[in-house]
C-alpha cells in the first residue's frame, strides 16, 4: 500500500507587513501624544468651547481639588529649586541638599512649608500616596500659596498660570485662589477645560 505522503508545508508567516504596520502606529503615537503628567489628585475639568491650547513649557499649573486643596506643578527643574530656596529663606525653613534634590525631581508639590522637610525625607512611594492629604494653605491667616506663586514668577517671568480645577469645586474655593492671584497682581491666567463642540457648528 502506498502511503499518502503529506507534503510538509512551511508554517512560517511573513511578519514584515505586520511589522511595518506596528512601526507606523508607534510613530503616530510617539509624534502626536504627550506624556501624562503625574498629578497628586485626579480632577475632571469642566468642558468649554474655548479652543486655545495651553503652551507646553513655562506653565505653572494650579490644581484645585473639590475639597479645596491646592497643589502646584512647575515644569522646569531650575524653577522648582529657585522657588524652594526663596520659600525656605522667607519662612526660615532650611533644607538639606538631598531634600532639595528630591524636590527638584517631583513635578508637583503641595505641602505646607513647615512640614516640607519631613515630607521630603519620606520615600517617594509614600510621598505619592500621602501628598493628596496635604495641600498648600491658602487662607487669610496663612497664605503660602501666594508666596509660592510670587516666588515662581520671580524665578521665571515668562511663566503662564493655569488653573485646573474639578468641575464640582464650590465657588468659594475658586474665589480664594483667584483673589490670592489678584493680590499679587496676577490678573491674566488660564482656566483649563476640556473640549466641547461649539453649538452653532453642531446645527450646521
Amino acid at each position: 500500500m502506498a502511503k499518502v505522503k503529506v507534503k510538509r508545508k512551511s508554517t512560517l508567516i511573513d511578519m514584515t507587513a505586520m511589522s511595518d504596520v506596528t512601526v507606523l502606529l508607534l510613530t503616530f503615537f510617539m509624534l502626536t501624544s504627550t506624556f501624562v503628567q503625574k498629578e497628586p489628585v485626579q480632577v475632571s475639568t469642566p468642558s468649554s468651547v474655548s479652543e486655545i491650547k495651553i503652551p507646553e513649557i513655562n506653565v505653572l499649573r494650579i490644581l484645585v481639588e473639590p475639597s479645596g486643596k491646592i497643589f502646584i506643578s512647575l515644569d522646569k527643574q531650575e524653577d522648582r529649586v529657585n522657588v524652594l530656596n526663596a520659600m525656605s529663606s522667607m519662612y526660615g525653613v532650611s533644607f538639606t541638599p538631598e531634600q532639595i534634590n528630591k524636590f527638584r525631581l517631583a513635578t508637583s508639590f503641595g505641602v505646607p512649608i513647615k512640614q516640607m522637610p519631613g515630607f521630603l525625607d519620606l520615600k517617594s512611594e509614600i510621598q505619592d500616596q500621602t501628598l493628596k492629604n496635604y495641600g498648600i494653605p491658602c487662607d487669610s491667616a496663612n497664605n503660602e500659596f501666594k508666596e509660592w506663586v510670587r516666588a515662581a514668577r520671580k524665578s521665571n517671568p515668562d511663566l503662564k498660570i493655569a488653573i485646573k480645577a474639578d468641575q464640582a469645586t464650590p465657588y468659594d474655593k475658586i474665589k480664594t485662589v483667584m483673589s490670592s492671584l489678584q493680590d499679587i497682581k496676577e490678573n491674566r491666567y488660564n482656566l483649563l477645560t476640556s473640549l466641547k463642540s461649539l453649538p452653532a457648528e453642531e446645527n450646521q
Binding site: 512560517l12 511573513d14 511578519m15 514584515t16 505586520m18 511589522s19 506596528t22 512601526v23 502606529l25 508607534l26 503615537f29 510617539m30 502626536t32 501624544s33 504627550t34 506624556f35 501624562v36 475639568t45 469642566p46 468642558s47 468649554s48 468651547v49 474655548s50 479652543e51 486655545i52 491650547k53 495651553i54 484645585v64 475639597s67 493655569a162 485646573k164 480645577a165 474639578d166 468641575q167 464640582a168 469645586t169 464650590p170 465657588y171 468659594d172 474655593k173 475658586i174 474665589k175 483667584m178 492671584l181 489678584q182 493680590d183 497682581k185 490678573n187 491674566r188 491666567y189 488660564n190 482656566l191 483649563l192 477645560t193 476640556s194 473640549l195 466641547k196 461649539l198 453649538p199 452653532a200
Partner: protein, 228 residues
C-alpha cells in the same frame, strides 16, 4: 531566527554559478516588541491637549468699583449663579421691590444664550460675517482676530457681570466651578466683549431670596436703603 536557506541545485553544484540564496528574516519578535511599545504609549500618554480659557481679572485697585457704575444701564446684564445649577439674571439696575425683575434662566441653549445672542445681535452678526469671510479666505487669521476684537468693542453691546453665590460653611448651596465655566462659555459663544466676574452683594442675595418667596420680602425693604 534569521534563516538563510541555501538551495542546492542537486547536481553536485556547478562551479562558478552563483548559488541561489533565499534570505528569510522572522519578524515575529520585532512585532512583539512594537506591540509592547504601542501599548506603553497608549497607556502613558494622552492624545488630547487640554484646552484653556483665557481670562483677565480686574486689578484690586479701587478704580474698578467706579468703573462698574459707569456702565450704562441699558447695556448692563447681571448674571447671578445660584445654588443647584440655577441661574438668574436682571437687566440694568436691580429693582429690589419688584421680584419679577429677576428672571430665572438656564445654562442651556434657550436660556442665557438666547438672551445674550438677542442682546448682542449686532456683534454676533458682525462676527458671523467675518467668519464667513475667513472661510472664503478673503482675510487671514491675524486680520480676522483683530477685526473680531474690534467688533466686540462695538458701542451698545452688553456688559455682563457674572456674580456667583458663595456656598455656606459646609460647602452646600452655592455655585460650583462648572457653573462659572458654563457662564464664561456663554460669553465666548455669544461674542460678549466686555464681561467680568464680580463679587456677589447682599442685594443680589436678597433678590434671589425674594424671588424664591415670590416677593414676600418686598415689604421688609427699608425705603431709605433702596435710595442708596
Amino acid at each position: 531566527m534569521a534563516e538563510v536557506e541555501v538551495k542546492d541545485s542537486g547536481k553536485g553544484g556547478k562551479k562558478g554559478r552563483q548559488k541561489k540564496m533565499k534570505i528569510h528574516v522572522d519578524f515575529t519578535p520585532m512585532v512583539d516588541m512594537n506591540m509592547l511599545l504601542i501599548t506603553f504609549f497608549m497607556f502613558c500618554t494622552t492624545l488630547s491637549k487640554p484646552q484653556t480659557m483665557e481670562i483677565s481679572m480686574p486689578t484690586n485697585d479701587k478704580v474698578t468699583e467706579e468703573e462698574q457704575n459707569k456702565v450704562r444701564e441699558s447695556e448692563a446684564i447681571t448674571i447671578l449663579l445660584g445654588d443647584n445649577d440655577r441661574v438668574f439674571y436682571y437687566l440694568g439696575q436691580p429693582k429690589y421691590e419688584d421680584y419679577t425683575s429677576l428672571v430665572e434662566s438656564s445654562y442651556g441653549a434657550d436660556g442665557l444664550r438666547a438672551l445674550l445672542l438677542e442682546r448682542n445681535k449686532t456683534v454676533v452678526n458682525k462676527v458671523k460675517d467675518l467668519k464667513e469671510r475667513k472661510k472664503r479666505e478673503e482675510i487671514d487669521e491675524v486680520t480676522y482676530d483683530s477685526l473680531v476684537s474690534e467688533a466686540k468693542k462695538t458701542k451698545g453691546s452688553p456688559v455682563v457681570m457674572i456674580k456667583a453665590k458663595l456656598p455656606d460653611e459646609n460647602g452646600h448651596n452655592g455655585a460650583s466651578y462648572r457653573n462659572l465655566i458654563d457662564a464664561l462659555d456663554e460669553m465666548i459663544i455669544c461674542d460678549i466683549g466686555r464681561y467680568a466676574i464680580v463679587d456677589i452683594t447682599e442685594g443680589d442675595l436678597f433678590l434671589m431670596e425674594n424671588f424664591e418667596q415670590k416677593g414676600a420680602l418686598s415689604d421688609q425693604i427699608d425705603p431709605n436703603l433702596v435710595k442708596n
